[in-house]
């Protein structure tokens, strides 16, 4: 078991959230330290450090101390310290969370490029779902110390295994509506007297029970007045440019719903929007276990 090995013997390298650069050492020494301890010949250390610095474009900073660097530069040094070691595994512990938004996007792309170039297995811990979706080949969504789901980003988006996973991936988060199923399990009874047919023969096993219906905001569309399944009373609108987020409620018990509509829309407060949702895009979770229900 790797648990019994000293950290140094595990053949891993780690990028920390606060970078954990040695403040009194120059960039060069920071990167060379691990190699020096392993008694690597001087010229080999030099070669590796220079090479890593070149890849990361930090050659000109090699003589500086960490405090003379910007956040993004420190981030690169921290990665450089890992690269020179040529380990079996990279660990990234929320490495981007201390950067500002713009730099974060840029570093995200660089990390992806680097990982593809170096072809080293990397474990990347993040709270940011965009990072998770864009960087990961496989995601492990952790819920309270347990792996709630393991899979490719798309699998996790399309078939979240639990309500937690469903709520975690996607922005704004998925809408969750507690709804009863019809007795035969073919329909979900939406608030406001409308019914949503379920695909693939429904879920007869849960006929007549209450379940949690998950609908992503981006899966709702504007409908004609008669076709609307949900008549959303608009509370609040956020215009993002490419899309518009609409927050509102519908039905007698004022179920809240968030909807993402493509393009720009101007809605007054209290406008009633008729919406439809395609049944292939809804997710159904058990009310108690919160696990995905497949038939």
């Amino acid at each position: 078991m790797v648990n019994d090995l000293e950290p140094a013997d595990r053949d891993i390298a780690m990028v920390f959230q606060n970078y954990a650069l040695y403040p009194h050492m120059s960039v060069y020494k920071n990167m060379a330290y691990g190699l020096k301890i392993r008694r690597m010949p001087k010229d080999e250390i030099e070669k590796r450090v220079r090479n890593a610095a070149k890849i990361l474009e930090i050659t000109e900073f090699l003589d500086r101390k960490p405090r003379q660097l910007s956040g993004g530069q420190r981030q690169r040094v921290a990665m450089g310290r890992c690269i020179v070691r040529e380990p079996k595994v990279f660990l990234f512990d929320e490495p981007l969370s201390n950067l500002d938004a713009k730099l974060r996007v840029q570093m995200r792309l660089e990390i992806r490029r680097l990982q593809e170039d170096l072809k080293v297995t990397s474990i990347f811990v993040t709270h940011d779902q965009v990072e998770a979706m864009t960087l990961g080949d496989r995601l492990i969504v952790m819920d309270n110390g347990y792996a709630a789901q393991v899979g490719s980003p798309l699998e996790i988006y399309e078939r979240p295994a639990t309500r937690f996973v469903a709520g975690f991936i996607g922005s704004p988060g998925m809408n969750f509506l507690p709804v009863p199923l019809s007795a035969d399990g073919q329909w979900a009874e939406l608030p406001g007297e409308n019914r949503l047919p379920l695909q693939n023969g429904g879920i007869p096993s849960h006929g007549g029970q209450e379940v949690i219906l998950g609908i992503r905001p981006e899966h709702c569309d504007l409908a004609g007045e008669q076709d609307g399944m949900m008549h959303l009373d608009v509370d609040h609108v956020e215009i993002l440019g490419a899309d518009t987020l609409v927050y509102g409620h519908f039905g007698e018990d004022k179920t809240r719903l968030t909807v993402r509509l493509p393009a720009m829309h101007h809605f007054e407060k209290n406008t009633i929007l008729p919406l439809i949702v395609s049944s292939k895009n809804v997710h159904i979770f058990d009310k108690k276990s919160e696990k995905r229900i497949e038939k």
């Binding site: 140094a8 780690m14 606060n18 970078y19 954990a20 650069l21 403040p23 009194h24 301890i37 310290r81």
Partner: protein, 280 residues
């Protein structure tokens, strides 16, 4: 500061300047006295510097007072050895003790911690005789070991380093371990260089503390060649009915002030940091 009141500004400076004069006055008089001959001091003392400055200091450093069998040069060297020994000793043993207490989990860790804490409550002044007896039994009376070792336990220094180590991010230790450094390398390569400012601040405070030790050297030195300068000056004053050699005493007093005062003036930043942090 807040509003403009010329008379208040004037008063401010007047108070500060008179305060400074009050603080400097005794030292100025001492300095002036150290530049006069004994006759000039005892008969008509003038507050202007005299002409015997070089003569008095040369005699003090190379010959000393006739009442004490050691030169001020020797005694200064003794004071310096004692001060540096105490300073370096305290810093060294406190650094490693704090390192053990912060970075290791081991049995009796807290017990040791409290034991070190207790030293705060036991200054030499409350255990004069038994400590003297320990020194006598260990045969370190009249020796540099005797001047240094009993004074190098330090709760304040240990606490200060502990405090500092607690602020060092855990990730740094993790990173060093992943880089392959064990506890000893981590201490020397990472922690020690990072502690430089704390060490410098403590150095200033402890040097002054060490140089100014009085009671302990008084207890354990009877051999004049181990006298520290402060003890020597007291001995020069103890002349009974005879005439104290004031010009030499005053020169020695000035010499006794120079090292710690220089340290404070030239390392003022570290001094202030040391003062405010060791009192926490």
């Amino acid at each position: 500061m807040v509003e403009h009141r010329p008379w208040l500004t004037f008063l401010t400076h007047a108070v500060l300047i008179s305060g400074m004069l009050l603080l400097v006055f005794p030292i100025y008089v001492t300095f002036v006295a150290s530049s006069h001959s004994l006759d000039e001091i005892t008969s008509n003392f003038s507050l202007l510097p005299g002409s015997h400055l070089v003569e008095n200091y040369t005699r003090a450093l190379n010959v000393g007072s006739k009442d004490v069998g050691a030169t001020v040069g020797t005694m200064m060297l003794n004071s310096l050895i004692m001060a540096l020994g105490i300073t370096i000793g305290k810093i060294a043993i406190s650094l490693i003790a704090a390192y053990a207490i912060v970075y290791f989990k081991f049995r009796f860790r807290m017990f040791f911690f409290w034991m070190i804490f207790i030293t705060l409550m036991l200054p030499v002044e409350v255990r004069i005789l038994p400590t003297y007896k320990v020194a006598a039994d260990l045969n370190i009376l009249d020796s540099y070991s005797g001047l240094i070792f009993p004074l190098i336990a330090s709760a304040t220094a240990t606490f200060l380093f502990r405090q500092f180590f607690m602020t060092v991010p855990d990730e740094l230790c993790e990173a060093a371990r992943i880089d392959g450094s064990g506890p000893i390398r981590f201490f020397f390569d990472i922690l020690l260089p990072m502690s430089r400012t704390s060490i410098a601040a403590l150095f200033v405070i402890l040097f002054i503390y060490g140089w100014n030790q009085y009671l302990w050297p008084l207890l354990i030195t009877t051999d004049e060649s181990y006298y520290t300068l402060l003890i020597g000056i007291k001995r020069m004053l103890d002349v009974g009915e005879g005439q104290a050699e004031w010009q030499i005493i005053m020169a020695s007093t000035i010499l006794a002030m120079i090292p710690p005062v220089l340290v404070v003036i030239f390392m003022q930043k570290q001094f202030v940091k040391g003062m405010t942090e060791t009192e926490k």
